[in-house]
């Protein structure tokens, strides 16, 4: 850190980092016991409409018809 320009650049960067960290530190956070319960609830609420999870009948899945692969 010899030149003056060098120092002020690092100061600007360091100030930016401090500002960013201050912002993040002030964030309002919620306990995992609450947020995780919401994540679980979302999965459960939507599980019946998740075809890859429940597997849907070949008749209603357009990809499941008995079609051979065509090599183009």
């Amino acid at each position: 850190m010899s030149g003056m320009m060098c120092s002020s650049n690092s100061v600007v960067q360091a100030q930016k980092l401090v500002d960013q960290l201050r912002l993040e530190a002030n964030m309002e956070r919620i306990k995992i016991s609450l947020t995780a319960a919401d994540l679980v609830r979302y999965c459960q609420d939507h599980r019946r409409s998740d075809p890859l999870l429940t597997g849907i009948a070949a008749s209603s899945n357009p990809f499941k018809d008995k079609k051979t692969c065509v090599l183009l």
């Binding site: 850190m1 003056m4 120092s7 002020s8 690092s10 100061v11 360091a14 100030q15 980092l17 401090v18 960013q20 960290l21 201050r22 912002l23 993040e24 530190a25 964030m27 956070r29 919620i30 306990k31 995992i32 016991s33 947020t35 995780a36 319960a37 919401d38 994540l39 679980v40 979302y42 999965c43 459960q44 609420d45 939507h46 599980r47 409409s49 998740d50 075809p51 890859l52 999870l53 597997g55 849907i56 899945n61 357009p62 990809f63 499941k64 692969c69 065509v70 090599l71 183009l72």
Partner: protein, 353 residues
């Protein structure tokens, strides 16, 4: 002049001290909320049965590694891009190739379908992201209608349209993300904060508002406010490059895939990592992730040519999908959740259902 140098030195030292204490405070705050693990909350959730997911379509046509793909909202078309500059639009039901464009650059690492289904965006080593309108006239030369929208100073790693065809969000090897107006090519907002290449981005589901998440070679995943350009949250728990980030369907969390061979799950409201998807037998880097419609399953593509299917809530692996003969570069669940598309360095794409 000598005393100015001394002032900078002192300020630098005090700033460093403050940033160190803030980092410590952040860790403490996050630690306070860790009152339970996700898999513990999920204990009463029923175990998943065996999944019967198999390859239903094999899309052959690319002459080189397929690097990216994206579904159209119509749930049947998709666009894919490859190392040799080719971009192909497919009808996944019929395997018909509807459009093909050759870009003048190699390694087209990013491609995206416009919400209207009338255009595609793609970019890569040309440091640009271009938009092509899709014409119904097969004879029309699509290359002629190409419009360069995004201009970065290094490769484009990811792109996505926002809620309309009018705006494009890109991530780049130049360490930034950017929001562009498609019509004018104007830069609307740029996002600075990553200290190395940004490798991936994902837009929050429309209900949750104007944010997006990005992941990069600096091992960080950052959440951004699209309007202000502000980095609102940052997560650093991976031990290597983050290759892909994807939001959980509710928008309250996101997953990441990394070269450290793990995928991780981050809760945005608790502001911390809540699950790590890993196995001793999984030692190759993970390049891509996507959730099933309900968010219960996480599909992850790896450099060992497989796709692992993880139970997001319980943290266990449910299934392994074999078939590709080289690295899996991208996995995407179709818009109605009926199928998974995977793109690979083996020059093919597969549709699993």
């Amino acid at each position: 002049m000598a005393c100015q140098g001394l002032q900078s030195g002192e300020t630098l030292a005090s700033l460093k001290k403050e940033s160190d204490s803030l980092k410590k405070k952040l860790e403490e705050e996050r630690g306070k909320l860790n009152d339970i693990e996700l898999h513990q909350v999920a204990e009463k959730v029923e175990m998943l049965g065996a999944l019967s997911i198999k390859t239903k379509r094999l899309l052959k046509g690319h002459g080189n590694k397929v690097l990216c793909m994206d579904w159209c909202k119509d749930k049947r078309r998709l666009v894919s891009s490859s190392q040799d500059g080719k971009v192909i639009v497919w009808d996944a039901f019929t395997l018909n190739k509807e459009h093909g464009v050759t870009l003048p650059c190699t390694w087209v690492m990013a491609c995206a379908y416009a919400p209207s289904g009338c255009a595609v965006a793609c970019g890569g080593l040309d440091n640009k992201c271009s938009v092509f309108p899709l014409s119904l006239d097969k004879n029309e030369n699509l290359s002629a209608k190409k419009k360069a929208v995004a201009m970065h100073t290094n490769y484009v790693s990811g792109c996505t349209f926002t809620n309309s065809d009018m705006q494009l969000l890109t991530s780049s090897g130049d360490g930034t993300c950017a929001l562009w107006d498609v019509e004018s090519g104007q830069l609307l907002q740029s996002f600075h904060g990553h200290t190395a290449d940004v490798l991936s981005l994902d837009l929050a589901p429309s209900e949750t508002g104007n944010t997006f998440v990005s992941g990069g070679s600096d091992k960080k995943a950052n959440v951004w406010d699209m309007r202000s350009g502000q980095n609102i949250q940052s997560f650093e728990s991976h031990e290597s490059d983050i290759n892909c980030v994807k939001y959980y369907p509710s928008g309250d969390a996101f997953a990441s895939a990394s070269d450290d061979s793990t995928c991780r799950f981050y809760d945005l409201r608790a502001d911390r990592e809540v699950a790590v998807y890993q196995k001793d037998s999984v030692i190759f880097g993970a390049s891509t992730v996507d959730f099933s419609l309900s968010g219960r399953l996480l599909f992850a593509g790896y450099n060992d040519y497989t796709i692992n299917v993880w139970d997001v809530l319980k943290g266990t692996r449910v299934s392994v999908l074999f078939g590709h003969e080289n690295r899996v570069s991208r996995v995407r669940v179709s818009p109605d959740g009926t199928a998974l598309c995977s793109a690979s360095w083996d020059n093919t794409l597969r549709i699993w259902a």
